[in-house]
């Protein structure tokens, strides 16, 4: 076993030694070859200077390569595979330890004999013993020292020197041999001997749109890399004589080369990748070829960052905000928002607002699908397109990530609203029935009581039980109403007028409900009468409410039929197109589509027929033309069209379809007519009320305006007309103002003197008192300006008394006042004068009768306004009256009251201000009423603006009626607010009860007056 182990160990040692040797030889050979290579390169580069003949170059290149190959063979391959390898190894071993080489040789041979079963010439044991001994011996030596790698270090220096030599030769020795040598060409260009150029200088002038500065590249290799459209100016020093020549761009026309100051100059524009050379015409020398790398302008990048999702749900009348970001390497010249749906596609330019010098544009825009007349459930794809300003290759377009807009199914939302409204109506009818029954029973009971001999006992428990049940029902109805309103607020098809009507209804119902709850909570026998009275007020309320909802639902059914009719008409049109396609040589696919369309039409027809049947009788009989409905029996005609299409009789089918389309249009016209008649009839009463209201408001406004004019006249007359002293009011005021000014001046001087004190003194009271006087004097000036002589007189009196006090204090030198006794005295004197003047004026001031008369007139107008407001609130009713109207009238009433008081107090300027405010409130109220009237007129025509969309948005597209609907100049409401918010605001305002912010308004108003 040991013997066999020795055999394998010996074999391993020998193998390891061989590998070690090979590795050593390979490294050694490579090092020598590298040294040889670099020295050769250096040498041939030098030798290449002898001639620029390409064959010479080729000879040098081939010679060098052959030498290199030879060297590789001689220095690497041959030593490694030399057969004497074993001998050499044995020699090395012998050198390491005398006899070791021979022993090893014997051991190897014995091993060979043993493994190949050759004759040993000795015993096996001896052979194994020798092998084992030799192996052991070999193992005892450090065999790695036989081929020390460190011996190779001596070559590193030589290699570095070689590299340096070659590099210096290549860099500093002119000529193109090195580039040729390292190229794959066997023979260099034969076009002629190379034109040697030195000090190449390139100037790059970038295209103008890039707005980049020109770039100068000195010591260029001649290769250029720049954007397409860049102008290249080439400059170099020819190493040989250059008389004239040209610059040749690959696939381009030659450009003459100019010589100047021993330099040559030329240029070209980069249009594509390629190369260029310079040729000297007289000698035919051509420069080496320089590369042209044409860089492309980058395509702009654009991205929609918000909305972030891929799909967004949006109502057809809603708007959304889009945030985008666009970037280009140079500049974005145009941005557009593009959208497309199944039918159309369009683009809208986006205004670019560049905030900085960067090439990044970030922006936001508001977009809504209302302008493109989408259908419910449509999907629209939105993208932002960014165009750069590349004038060379034409603008490049970057396209953003698409956003898919899924339009909400507004009709199903509307259906939901109607379901709520229907439920509400059911609840209200139930309540009305209960109320009537209860009142009716009670009345009967009373009658029975009166006629009967026995007195009937009032069972409060029973009454309470029934009333609680009823209250619960009313609460439920109010809650359903609330849901209905919320649903309407989200519903694009709900009518604004009805929305306002229902909102008012909610307020009234809540008020009645509160009253009811309060009554029920502490109900006693004594309250029976009150309860009866309450119910008798509730009944008309519920009646009106039911009628309102009934009208709404009836009208809506009409509109719904109208919408379906229009859908049907569109389907006809699509069918017509398909038939035309079939006629123009359609295929089986078109035939299938026609059949499919026919089936769709049949389905729509049947739906429409159902809707028409569902119309209330009074609408149908009263307003619609019955002949139009005969056309509804079109199913047979459709079958006929289908048959004709199948038989290829397209002309006939088209004729028939045209006739059906005409019938349907007649029906639509009838429906529109019906809608308008029904709407007008339904709203006639409300509209006439509103009309009357507007007219009365106009009267009040006219009267108030006239009164204000009169008051202004009075003011003017007071100002202009001379009094007993021969001076007019204006002169009087001016005179008093001057006095007040002087008074202020005196006081200021006094303050200055009083304040001049040493830091140690402590007498700030005097300065403080004077300061207060100055303030009062300024107030006095203000009252005089406002012609409020009462206040001015009061103020003057106070100043006079205070200055008198100051004067006395100055005598006592209180608070350092003694220093300004003179000024204080003068001030006191002036204050006294002003006081006397004003008091005298008060006595003389005439026109008492006129003031009283005007105040009386103001009271009358206030009364009219109050009456109107009261009627309005009683109308409560005013189903469609906007909520802010009463508030505005209240404001006007209040201002008028103030104006009246002012007139009585002869405060003419203040009165005018109040009158002005009253007029403003009246005008606002009138505006609101007129807006509402306008809304109602449109609603009556079936074109009422929908609850959420409205508010200042103009819309494009066709209405279901085929007319330009809803293009109403809608109320003067903050246009920035979307419908939903606005309605929410109305809801909140209405729920809030009394006019919010009224006190604030008054405060502001007085602030303004004082100012």
């Amino acid at each position: 076993m040991n013997s066999l182990d020795s055999l394998s160990r010996l074999a391993n040692i020998i193998k390891g030694l061989k590998n070690q040797k090979n590795k050593y030889l390979l490294l050694k050979g490579s090092s020598i070859i590298a040294i040889f290579f670099f020295i050769t390169i250096g040498l041939v580069t030098i030798i290449s200077l002898i001639s620029s003949n390409p064959y010479y170059y080729a000879f040098l290149k081939i010679l060098t390569l052959l030498l290199l190959i030879l060297a590789v063979f001689k220095l690497v391959i041959a030593p490694i595979y030399r057969k004497t390898i074993t001998n050499s190894l044995l020699e090395e071993l012998e050198n390491l330890s005398p006899g070791l080489g021979e022993d090893t040789l014997n051991a190897v041979e014995l091993t060979d004999s043993l493994t190949k079963s050759k004759a040993l010439g000795t015993s096996e044991d001896l052979a194994f013993a020798h092998i084992s001994k030799t192996t052991h011996k070999l193992e005892s030596f450090n065999l790695s020292s036989l081929y020390p790698i460190s011996n190779l270090r001596k070559y590193f220096v030589l290699l570095a020197g070689g590299i340096l030599f070659a590099a210096l030769a290549v860099i500093f020795i002119p000529g193109s041999f090195p580039s040729y040598f390292f190229s794959s060409s066997i023979i260099p260009s034969t076009s002629g001997p190379h034109l040697k150029l030195a000090d190449i200088q390139i100037t790059l002038k970038y295209p103008e749109y890039t707005k980049q500065e020109p770039q100068l590249i000195k010591g260029s290799s001649g290769d250029v890399k720049a954007m397409k459209g860049t102008e290249v100016q080439f400059e170099a020093k020819p190493l040989s004589t250059f008389k004239e020549g040209s610059l040749f761009v690959e696939n381009g026309a030659p450009v003459p080369v100019i010589t100047s100051d021993g330099k040559i100059k030329s240029g070209f524009t980069i249009l594509n990748n390629g190369s260029y050379v310079i040729t000297e015409s007289s000698t035919g020398l051509t420069s080496e070829s320089f590369m042209i790398i044409a860089q492309e302008d980058r395509v702009p990048e654009v991205q929609i960052s918000s909305p972030s999702g891929k799909t967004v749900e949006l109502g057809s009348e809603e708007n959304m905000e889009i945030f985008y970001e666009a970037e280009d390497d140079f500049n974005i010249s145009k941005l557009t928002l593009a959208w497309e749906n199944q039918k159309t596609q369009s683009e809208l330019p986006i205004t670019i607002k560049k905030e900085s010098d960067t090439n990044v544009i970030k922006g936001r825009l508001t977009w809504g699908p209302s302008g493109i007349n989408p259908g419910d459930g449509d999907t629209i794809k939105l993208r932002v397109f960014a165009y750069d300003n590349d004038t060379i290759a034409g603008p490049k377009v970057g396209v953003s990530n698409p956003i898919t807009i899924k339009l909400k199914d507004a009709r199903s939302k509307h259906k939901e609203t109607l379901n709520y409204a229907e439920q509400l109506m059911e609840e209200l009818i139930d309540i009305l029935g209960d109320e009537i029954n209860l009142v009716y029973q009670n009345d009967n009971n009373k009658n029975a009581q009166n006629s009967g001999s026995r007195t009937r006992v009032i069972d409060t428990e029973e009454i309470l039980k029934k009333q609680k049940k009823l209250t619960q029902k009313i609460e439920n109805a109010v809650s359903t109403l609330d849901i209905t309103l919320s649903s309407m607020a989200e519903d694009e098809y709900s009518d604004y007028t009805f929305f306002v009507g229902l909102t008012n209804m909610e307020i009234r119902l809540n008020s009645l409900l509160d009253e009811r709850k309060y009554l029920i909570e502490s109900f006693a026998k004594i309250d029976v009468g009150r309860l009866q009275r309450l119910m008798k007020r509730e009944i008309p309320e519920f009646e009106d409410d039911i009628l309102l909802i009934d009208s709404m639902l009836k009208g809506d059914k009409l509109i719904d039929s109208l919408r379906s009719s229009n859908d049907l008409l569109n389907q006809y049109s699509e069918l017509s197109e398909l038939l035309n396609e079939l006629q123009d040589g359609g295929n089986a696919e078109i035939s299938d589509r026609i059949q499919e369309k026919l089936n769709q039409i049949k389905q729509l027809m049947s739906q429409l027929a159902k809707k028409m049947d569902g119309l209330s009788g009074d609408i149908q009989e009263g307003f619609l033309n019955q002949d139009a409905f005969e056309a509804l029996n079109m199913q047979k005609q459709l079958n006929q069209i289908s048959k004709l299409a199948q038989e290829g009789k397209i002309e006939q089918a088209l004729d028939m379809l045209a006739s059906m389309s005409q019938s349907l249009q007649n029906m639509i016209a009838s429906l529109e007519n019906g809608m308008q008649s029904f709407g007008s009839s339904m709203m006639a009463q409300e509209m006439s009320k509103l009309n009357e209201l507007v007219s009365r408001l106009e009267n009040i406004e006219r009267e108030e305006s006239s009164l204000k004019d009169n008051t202004e006249e009075l003011k003017k007359s007071l100002l202009e007309n001379p009094n007993l002293q021969g001076e007019n009011l204006r002169e009087f005021i001016e005179k008093e103002m001057k006095k007040a000014e002087r008074l202020t001046q005196n006081l200021k001087e006094a303050r200055a003197k009083v304040s001049k004190k040493s830091p140690l003194e402590n007498n700030s009271e005097g300065a403080y008192l004077i300061e207060k006087m100055i303030e009062k004097t300024q107030q006095l000036s203000n009252w005089l300006k406002a012609m409020d002589f009462n206040e001015a007189a009061k103020n003057a009196r106070s100043i006079q008394e205070s200055t008198k006090g100051l004067s006395e204090m100055s005598n006592l030198n209180f608070g350092n006042l003694g220093k300004a006794s003179e000024e204080i005295y003068s001030a006191s004197k002036l204050a006294n004068e002003i006081r006397n003047d004003l008091e005298r004026f008060g006595v003389q001031k005439g026109n008492q009768g006129e003031f009283g008369e005007m105040a009386g007139r103001q009271d009358e107008i206030q009364g009219q306004t109050g009456d109107l407001n009261e009627e309005l609130s009683e109308l409560g009713s005013g189903f469609f009256v906007a909520p802010g109207l009463g508030e505005k009238l209240g404001e006007a009433e209040n201002f008028m009251g103030n104006a009246s008081q002012d007139l009585r107090g002869r405060q003419v300027s203040k009165a005018i201000s109040n009158q002005q405010e009253a007029l403003k409130a009246l005008r606002d109220a009138k505006q609101q009423a007129q807006d509402m009237l306008q809304q109602m007129r449109m609603s009556a025509k079936g074109n009422g603006s929908s609850a959420p969309m409205m508010l200042g948005q103009r819309q494009s597209g066709q209405s279901p009626q085929g007319t330009d609907k809803r293009y109403v100049e809608i109320p003067q409401i903050d246009e920035s607010q979307v419908g939903k918010e606005y309605k929410q605001r109305i809801l909140e305002a209405m729920k809030g009860g009394s006019p919010k912010g009224y006190i604030e308004l008054n405060k502001k108003y007085y602030d303004r007056i004082i100012k």
Binding site: G433, S616, G617, D618, E621, A684
Partner: protein
């Protein structure tokens, strides 16, 4: 020479004979055709028919052929034989270039071509035609009405047609206006729903009006026209025609005639007060052509009362003599004079004086006279609101609508409360009254229901709902005769309401009238089947 003379004589005789034969043939066919024309003009259609058949056999020349075809077309049209009328009409139209005849021929061809596919019920004296299956009910009831009319009015006017009179019930407005030659707007404006023309009576099916109309009176009215036409050979002027028809139209069911209903009293008193009577001259050519339904009704009232004045003061025979005299003289003024011994202006004056002496009152304040509103479909609206539009007072209409909404939900007491409120605002509205009475009756307040209905029935006897509700009240009370009377009155206005027939089944069952009960069952089945179709 002698031979020559003999030959000459022979030729002369032959020429004479030929000429005579030809001339005698020619005069015979002319006579025949003239008699046909005369027969058509006076609606002696049986004679005209015999003559035209003979004329057709004898016609040799183109001209004769054309005239015969033309008149044959007319005769057949007047006989109601539309297929033949069309055939001969087309033949006549193609035979030569036509003058004035062309328009009428074209009309006959078109009307015959588009005539509804009638079915018939024949009696000894009438051929009642109907096209819509439901109109069978009307035709059946019409048999009774016409039988009574023939007897009573025939007695009054001493006229009985020899041939069966054709009655046609038109199923739609289009076919009616085509056949009657009345423009649709006239029908809707003046409310003319029946006409006696072309030797037949044509009426519009009451199915087409939301609440029907007094079709039985209309049939009787038109039958009077038929008799007057025959009796006077079409010489009585239109206004007088209408007066006689108005005077006689209720005779089929009433013994005494009273033209002045509360409605007529109202419009007559107003016209007398305002001197707004319709001049006799304006009543030409037809009352249907007057400006409004109100004016037409006033004209009916005037002419009807004028005949009433004649009969009241000069006896029934005066009316018969008047017609005969007009036939003789073709001058109604002369005829009046011969009958009354008064010049027409004096007669007119005496009528007006008589009318004024009656101190007529505005019985139904604010009555409105509306034209005919044709239903677009037979289906009733879901909420039964189709007649609300006829309530002029907006608030009353609102309360009625509220009542309807409550009624639909079974809240009849509250519904009656709302109807009461509506009635306060519009106290004479048959629409509100009938709704209120209905609700009251169901909740057991039949007394009050009757109180509501009684004043109204006098004002609006043709409002079918009133009779229906009364019928129900009587039936509930067990007053079978009264109930039957009310239901039959309702049927005489609107025979298509299944409820009437259902009630009559109950009623006849109680009365043990099996045959009538079976008839009603048949009608009910017919209606219900139609309804469910």
């Amino acid at each position: 020479m002698k031979r020559k003379s003999t030959l000459y004589l022979f030729l002369t005789i032959a020429f004479y004979l030929i000429t005579y034969t030809w001339c005698s043939h020619s005069s015979e066919i002319d006579e025949l055709l003239d008699s046909v024309e005369s027969g058509i003009k006076t609606w002696q259609i049986r004679d005209a028919s015999e003559s035209i058949d003979r004329a057709l056999e004898k016609a040799d020349t183109d001209e004769e052929d054309f005239r015969s075809s033309y008149l044959k077309s007319l005769v057949d049209f007047y006989k109601g034989n539309y297929i033949s009328a069309k055939e001969y009409g087309e033949k006549a139209l193609s035979s030569k270039e036509l003058g004035d005849e062309a328009d009428f021929l074209n009309f006959i061809v078109a009307a015959s071509d588009l005539a509804p596919e009638f079915k018939e019920i024949r009696t000894e004296n009438f051929v009642i035609r109907y096209a819509h299956p439901k109109d069978l009910i009307l035709a059946e009831y019409a048999r009774d009405v016409l039988g009574k009319s023939r007897f009573e009015i025939g007695l009054d006017l001493e006229e009985y047609p020899k041939d069966p009179v054709i009655i046609e019930i038109y199923p739609d407005m289009k076919s009616f206006t085509l056949a009657s030659t009345l423009p649709a707007e006239n029908v809707e404006k003046t409310g003319v729903v029946g006409i006696c023309k072309f030797n037949r009576i044509m009426i519009l099916s009451p199915r087409l009006l939301p609440k029907g109309y007094t079709w039985a009176d209309t049939l009787a009215h038109e039958y009077v026209h038929y008799l007057v036409f025959l009796k006077s050979e079409n010489k009585v002027p239109v206004w007088l025609h209408e007066g006689i028809a108005k005077y006689e139209e209720k005779r089929w069911k009433e013994k005494d005639t009273n033209v002045i209903s509360p409605f007529y009293e109202t419009i007559l008193s107003e016209a007398l007060q305002k001197d707004g009577l319709v001049p006799i001259e304006k009543m030409h050519p037809s009352l249907a052509m007057l400006e409004s339904a109100r004016e037409a009704q006033l004209a009916f009232a005037q002419s009807g009362t004028m005949i009433s004045h004649l009969v009241d003061n000069w006896g029934q025979n005066a009316l018969i003599d008047l017609i005969s005299s007009i036939k003789e003289t073709d001058d109604y003024q002369a005829a009046i004079k011969s009958v009354t011994n008064l010049d027409f202006p004096l007669f007119y004056e005496s009528w007006e004086k008589d009318l004024r002496s009656k101190n007529l009152e505005e019985k139904i304040p604010g009555v409105s006279v509306k034209g005919v509103r044709i239903k677009n479909t037979e289906k009733k609206s879901i909420d039964g609101s189709e007649d609300l539009i006829d309530i002029d007072n907006n608030r009353a209409r609102d309360y009625t609508r509220l009542g309807d909404l409550l009624k639909q939900r079974g809240r009849l007491s509250p519904a009656s409360y709302e109807y009461e409120k509506a009635l306060e605002l519009d106290p004479y509205s048959p629409i509100i009254s009938s709704r209120l009475a209905y609700a009251l009756n169901i909740i057991g307040e039949s007394e009050r229901a009757r109180e509501v209905l009684y004043p109204i029935i006098e004002f609006y006897p043709s409002h079918t709902d009133i009779h229906m509700i009364l019928g129900r009240i009587y039936l509930d009370e067990g007053n079978l005769n009264k109930a039957q009377e009310a239901y039959l009155t309702a049927i005489a206005i609107n025979p298509y309401d299944p409820e009437v027939h259902a009630s009559l089944i109950v009623l006849y069952d109680k009365q043990g009238q099996t045959e009538l009960k079976q008839r009603e069952e048949k009608f009910l089945k017919l209606l219900l089947n139609e309804e469910t179709k």
